[in-house]
Symmetry: C2
Subunit: 373 residues, 2 copies
């Protein structure tokens, strides 16, 4: 393998490939990036067996392709070396003794290579019928649901985001069993067989970091045990989480006894201040009480002091509600809404609270109340 390439072009793609490498990996080959120089251009590949990334630099963006071939080198080292080289042309050449020679006018590096045959084979074939959405939408889904996933490994299925696709509807759900976030989107295609898969949230996190051209589309090739994302010149494979995702459809009530509408920023700021006098080991519990067109948000730590916040609300029902919940969970939920106002929906002080934007029903945030008596 021998080529000459501009630093910034190679760096852009190393930035993608490095995401396929876990720092914690004890198997040396899984810390490597595979370079594959073909007549079409240069492929970079990496995998930690849970995700895999393959990115492609077209030959028109390569100054000079001299000798085709494959090499496998330490991802961390090649990444740092290219990153610290100036933005000039860099020569990369496989030399005797399976070493990679990386040089510019004043810098020369030799890196020991690993055996190409040790690098895992990646099966990145297309599915015949991929789901196609915009990168922007995928990022929105991630930011509006991912925070609600569980970080506990005791129920692995809850550490992912569930994607349920049927006809032209895609439902994306995350829950840690104390709260739930559900985003419903329309897709521009019809899936006749229902798809129901759960993608590890951390892998989606790596994916959305790579989605830098929001207007472009991303293809989701969904298989039984893996999902392959294709976008721009990048392919990312992620494992799926085994197991059946809990049926959350019955958790969200159809009707509510009390519906409150208020200014989103005012509510957020009031809860944020009330949360100052809460304890994390008491779940940051705060109290919410509606009184006609006002609501009082309060909390206290006996040794320290107490707080009362007042906000103005719009409520059509005569009944009032008194309920307690985690200030952190409520703020996480409110943050995902992109509207001036927010609506809170209650049935009783012991049933789930629903948080929505008054403008659309496509995003539903649910949090469980906390019993304080």
């Amino acid at each position: 393998m021998k080529l000459k390439i501009k630093q910034n072009i190679l760096m852009e793609h190393l930035n993608y490939a490095i995401k396929g490498i876990s720092n914690k990996n004890l198997i040396p080959i899984l810390n490597c990036i595979k370079f594959e120089l073909t007549n079409e251009g240069l492929y970079l590949m990496s995998t930690d067996n849970d995700i895999a990334i393959k990115t492609f630099i077209d030959k028109k963006n390569i100054e000079n392709i001299d000798t085709l071939g494959d090499v496998v080198v330490s991802g961390k080292y090649i990444y740092d070396i290219i990153r610290k080289l100036p933005n000039t042309f860099i020569n990369i050449e496989e030399v005797d003794d399976s070493r990679l020679y990386i040089y510019t006018d004043n810098s020369s590096f030799y890196l020991n290579c690993n055996l190409v045959s040790d690098f895992p084979a990646l099966d990145l074939q297309d599915h015949k019928n991929p789901v196609i959405i915009s990168q922007k939408l995928l990022k929105t889904i991630y930011s509006q649901t991912s925070f609600a996933t569980s970080t506990q490994e005791t129920r692995p299925i809850l550490t992912g985001i569930n994607f349920k696709i049927f006809n032209n509807i895609m439902e994306c759900t995350a829950t840690d069993s104390y709260r739930l976030a559900k985003k419903i989107v329309n897709i521009n295609q019809t899936m006749e067989e229902e798809i129901n898969v759960t993608i590890p949230t951390k892998n989606l996190g790596e994916l959305v970091k790579m989605c830098t051209s929001e207007e472009d589309m991303i293809e989701m090739h969904i298989f039984n045990n893996k999902i392959i994302f294709k976008f721009n010149n990048i392919i990312m494979l992620s494992s799926l989480i085994n197991g059946t995702y809990p049926d959350t459809s019955k958790l969200i009530p159809e009707t509510f006894n009390i519906n409150i509408k208020t200014n989103l920023n005012d509510l957020f700021a009031a809860i944020d201040r009330a949360s100052l006098l809460t304890n994390e080991n008491e779940k940051n519990t705060i109290h919410f009480e509606s009184r006609g067109d006002e609501a009082i948000i309060s909390s206290n730590i006996p040794e320290i002091g107490n707080v009362e916040e007042k906000i103005y609300v719009n409520k059509e029902e005569n009944d009032d509600i008194r309920i307690s919940f985690s200030s952190k969970y409520m703020m996480d939920a409110i943050k995902t809404l992109d509207s001036t106002d927010v609506t809170l929906h209650f049935n009783s002080e012991i049933t789930p609270i629903i948080i929505k934007s008054p403008e659309n029903d496509n995003l539903i945030q649910l949090i469980l109340p906390i019993k304080t008596y």
Copy 2:
């Protein structure tokens, strides 16, 4: 105590006062801020027994002074509460049962107070003859020397920056015994008695964060066991470190066998890249070898690979030098120089390396070489 004050004004001063509080303090009163409302204005005080801070808000910046008095409250809570309130007028009032009532139209907080009599008395009297320099100069001294202080508590004296003042010369020195940074400055006054004190580097770090009006001056009131800094409306007291600072004057050679001048950015970038193939547990050792008008910087990790960097140098002597040193220490030293070129001065491969700007002799960086044979 009862007053009304604009949020942003109180916040600015709480930002200073909070720096006098250590999060690790187990004595509750040392986590507190004392408010003292007088006819002149409001004083805020805090101390962790190692440093103390007193800041003053003139009455002209206070909307309403109603009742004079003192209160002592948890620093963390009052800081967070004021920080999260909107930028409007805030009422602060001591109420029955020694509680502090903090309120705006929609927010009301009650904080339990501590006993005023438990708060340590702070002796912040002036020295008759303070040393006066600009805040900008103090920040420069800090940034050019602090990194060379030791972080090891085994020799406490080396965890501070030594200030030696005599006549109109102030010498500021930091060393961890492997490297040394010395800044020599002229002051606009004459001290007839030599001053020699060592100030804890971490306290100077807190101080320089508060020096936001660089053009203004700072007064250094130096006593036997403490130093008091006065600037703008702020007073900060710091302990001094007991013990005699090592005499470093003989460490810095007067003459050199080899003097090399080169471009600062080129040298830094070459060392930065060479350091990629070093190990922290081998002190990030790199090798430097001059060959006429070039120098080669190299390093290697046998399992990974090796690197050679070439830079162009200016050297009047015929002799060449081959020496090894810590890339990290060399980069730390180079970073402090504010010039296009840098000069490196050598006597032999086992004697200290001096790093300077060719334009001035007021800043001397020294690092010890590493024996590699």
